[in-house]
Each structure stands twice: as structure tokens, then as C-alpha cells.
Symmetry: C2
Subunit: 291 residues, 2 copies
């Protein structure tokens, strides 16, 4: 964040966001450096959700403002994004503040704002760190599931929700059902193989986006459609960029479940597993619902 | 956060922090309103950890800056605190910014700073919300454990770590062992009954503090002591203040486990259960370790 607010630039949006040679994901998270140290982006029609962009693409774009930052130390360890208001179609600015830089860790505060009034839309904090050799040990095991290639690709055709077509999703359990006649369930767990569509080598930004790739858990607990939206999401990164290179464009296994649904909010815990059973990221969110 | 930085007041710390009629917890989280809308606090010897204060008391103090805030809408739903640097003994200022207020939700950004230079020490974001009647359903079940009264109180006597004496802890499993001869384990799960010592009726601030009441999971996975510290913690509140009144000063059951330990960081997922098996809070953190 700059000390002195600057007015939004009047130029057109970042040219990268319109480059047809790029993957839609890279177009969506493209940012242009502004003279004041902040970043200019533009919403993507490819990742549109019912209201505004898919939350995962917004989180990945915020992360990208850190990944691109010239003062960055190390790689992302934690990111929390708070969806404070709807993102309007069009340009936005991500204000970036390096809150504190230590020897091996760095702390960030970010805001996404829009319009001449710089309307606050999203707040975020992040930690980057120099990773190093240390004793390592997994604890949670990846569920024993059939391979993605043995499962059919889910056909999720929702009017006005183009982002779901940007992922190849193959459900092991807990597939989306918006059938109002479907039975209520006491189990909100989903296991789903995910990859970008078209295929794209996994990186930290796309991993971040996939952490939000689970439809609201309340859809599994309750029959039919329930209005719901993520309020806050946290992603912990357990892999560095180099580790992700080995994943290339293979699908990752996402596992998500709700722990409690109470007074209009539920929480979701999720894991994203890579090839070979490596836990690449764990993620948590708290979600508003109305029923 | 005020627009114009103010210099630290030269007056002595908040008088509440020295009031002997208050519970040590209330003294520790006491804040004094500053004319610029920020809050002045003082570290507490009662909750001192090896380096600086116990992280849970710092998180609770940050939450208290919101709970006390005259512009607050609703009750806490989510809090993320990022421990950017060591808190020095003495006074600190919590800068509070209402990032955005909606009809039913409100977003906050906070910083804890210290000294004449206003050194950045901790960043935080939070969401408060008006809770309302809605369909509710638990999903995760509280573990079936023996009652606190059937278990011995843990004797945790660590030189220079007074905060552990501020909690009555009774371990069901996964008790602290710093014995360098203890065997490495593949299970980092702890189940522990916790309450304030001396007893104090549970409220949102003390619930927040207890979410950090688990020693580092790496202590269970590796023999002996391993340097470790929380980098970022998120708490999701599933109970409102009124619900907590019914808990009074009964112990809560804390459950915590690590999911993966890699390249110097591990994550912890935790639940805090109230009497009757109600999930009061879920919490997550990412922790630095050095081995």
C-alpha cells in the first residue's frame, strides 16, 4: 500500500489479460505494475461466478501480486483472503504493503480496491519464507482413491457460471447436486480430481486457486441450492515452486469437508494432494449461507 | 489504523492491566482507548512464553480491540493473526481499521506496533457478523473421551514459561514430553481438557486464546525440544457470546493435530469443543520449526 492514495489509472487494463497466446488462467491473474508500487488487474469473463469472479481466481491474483513483487523474500507459506464485498466486472487495483521483512520470513498486507473511490473489496495477509532443509514427515495420508483416468469428467453446466468449465473435475465422492429433490445428507465430504482446463502446469498461483475449487459444503448437506459465499479463506502452502514443477499438469486430489454449520456460517477444511501422495496445500474457509 | 501516525503516548500503561481485582486474563488483554481510535496495551508477566508473550494471549488482545470497538457490527466469525516479529515486554499499540462494513458483515484490518518507531510486530484481519437463525447441523463429532474430572491435572513446570500455569490442562492423549530420550512418533494428535486457572467464565476472548493452547506438534513427532513458533493462526468462531455464557467456567476439550511437516513448517488443525459436544471454534495455524 502506498502512503498517499493514488487515483486509478485511466489507461486500459493490463495488456497481458488480453493476450490470446496465454492460458486463460494466466490472462485472469495478469497484473500490470503501477508507478506507485501497486498492481492493476482486470476481471476475467472466463472465471466468472454467479456474482463476480470465482473466489479462487481472485485469491490467486492477490497471490500473484506477491509473486511478482520485486521485494519478495522466499515463497508463499500462508495466505488469508477476506472477501469483503463483490468484485465488480472491470479493473481493480491490488495495494501491496510489505509489513515486515525478517531474515527468513516476510509479512504482507494487501487490499483489492475498485473504482475512483477506491472501494475496499478484499483484504489479505500473507507470509513468504525462505524454505530450507529440515526434518520432514507427512502425517495425514492421502485417501486411497481410484485414479482420475478411471473416472468420468463431471459435466457441470450452470448458466452464468463459466469458471467451472475452466477445471476438469472428476468426483470420487461428494459430487455437486443441486436437485431440490435430493436427500439431505449428514456428510459434506468431497473427493475430487482437479486440473486446469485446458491443461496447464501446476504452480503456486493455480494451486492457490484450486484450494477454493469446492462448491459450498452446504449444497451436500441440504437439498437443492442454498445461497452461500466464502467470507474468509486461508491457504497454507506445503510445497515450493520447484516441487510443483514435478507435478506438471497432472490432476491433484482435492478433499474438502465441513465441520459445523451454525447460525448462517460453516467452516470447510480442505487438502490438495499431488501425485505420489504429497500434501501440496491445506486450506480452510468460513462460508456464509442463508437457509 | 488512523490515517496520520501518532506517536506513542508517554503515559503509563492501561490501568486495567494492573487492577488486582481482575482475573490475570482480563489484566493481560486490557486495552486503553487512545484519542486517535487505536488501543494501548501492555504485555503481561502472567502469560509470558519463552520469547515474548504466549501467542494466544496476543491473539485474544487483538480480538479485544475489536470487541471493545464502538463501531463494531456483530460478533467475531473469523480472526487471522500473523506473528511477524517478537513482542517486546512493555507497551504496545493496536491500530484498528474498519476495512468495510456491510449490512450483516464487517471486515477489519489490524496491526500491533511497538516503540517510538512503531515497529510492526503483528498483522491481523478479522470478520464480524450479525448471526441469525438458520438451519444448523454439526458434522464432526466430539471425540468420546473421559471427563476432565477423571484425569489428573498436568504439571507443566517449564522455567521461564509462566503462561502454562494459567491453564488447567488435563491430557486425554498426546501430552507434552520434552524428554530427549522419548521415541519419535508418527501421531501428533493431542486431546486435552482446558480451562483458565484460576477458573473464569468462558468468553470469546478466552476461547480465542485457548485455540493457541497446544504446544507445537513437532514436540510429539520428534524426541526432545525443537525450536518452533507460530507464524500465522486463524480462528473461526462457531458460537456467539450468548452461547458461551452457558459454558460458564467448565473445561473445553481441545483437539489438535499436524497434517504435514515439511521444509521447516508444519500446519496444525484444531477444534475446541464445549460442554454438550458443541464445536465452539475451529482453528488452524502454520508453525515454523528448526530441526
Amino acid at each position: 500500500m502506498s502512503d498517499a492514495p493514488t487515483s486509478l489509472p485511466t489507461s486500459s487494463s493490463a495488456s497481458l489479460s488480453q493476450d490470446p497466446s496465454l492460458h486463460p488462467f494466466d490472462r485472469a491473474i495478469a497484473l500490470k505494475a503501477l508507478p506507485d508500487g501497486n498492481w492493476l488487474g482486470h476481471t476475467s469473463a472466463d472465471y466468472r461466478n454467479m456474482v463476480g469472479p470465482y473466489g479462487g481466481i481472485t485469491a490467486a491474483t492477490v497471490l500473484n501480486a506477491i509473486l511478482l513483487h520485486p521485494a519478495r523474500l522466499g515463497e508463499p507459506v500462508a495466505l488469508t483472503v477476506n472477501y469483503a464485498g463483490p468484485v465488480q466486472d472491470g479493473e481493480f487495483v491490488i495495494e501491496v504493503e510489505v509489513f515486515r521483512t525478517n531474515r527468513a520470513t516476510q509479512h504482507w498486507m494487501l487490499r483489492l480496491v475498485q473504482g475512483a473511490e477506491r472501494t475496499p473489496v478484499l483484504s489479505a495477509t500473507a507470509v513468504t519464507a525462505l524454505r530450507r532443509q529440515a526434518w520432514s514427515g507427512p502425517e495425514l495420508d492421502m485417501p486411497d482413491v481410484p485414479p482420475a483416468s478411471s473416472l468420468p469428467r463431471a459435466q457441470i453446466d450452470l448458466a452464468g457460471v463459466p469458471w467451472t468449465a475452466r477445471y476438469d473435475m472428476r468426483f470420487v465422492r461428494g459430487a455437486l447436486s443441486l436437485d431440490p429433490e435430493s436427500a439431505a445428507s449428514d456428510d459434506s465430504c468431497t473427493e475430487v480430481w482437479m486440473r486446469d482446463e485446458p491443461p496447464r502446469p501446476l504452480d503456486l498461483a493455480s494451486l492457490c486457486s484450486m484450494c477454493d475449487g469446492f462448491f459450498p459444503r452446504i449444497f451436500l448437506r441440504r437439498p437443492g441450492f442454498v445461497p452461500a459465499g466464502t467470507v474468509s479463506m486461508t491457504v497454507y502452502f506445503h510445497a515450493d515452486a520447484q516441487t510443483l514443477v514435478a507435478q506438471h499438469d497432472a490432476p491433484v486430489l482435492g478433499v474438502a469437508r465441513g465441520q459445523v454449520f451454525a447460525q448462517g456460517f460453516f467452516d470447510q477444511t480442505a487438502q490438495v494432494w499431488g501425485q505420489g501422495g504429497t500434501l501440496l496445500a491445506s486450506s480452510h474457509q468460513i462460508v456464509y449461507y442463508k437457509e
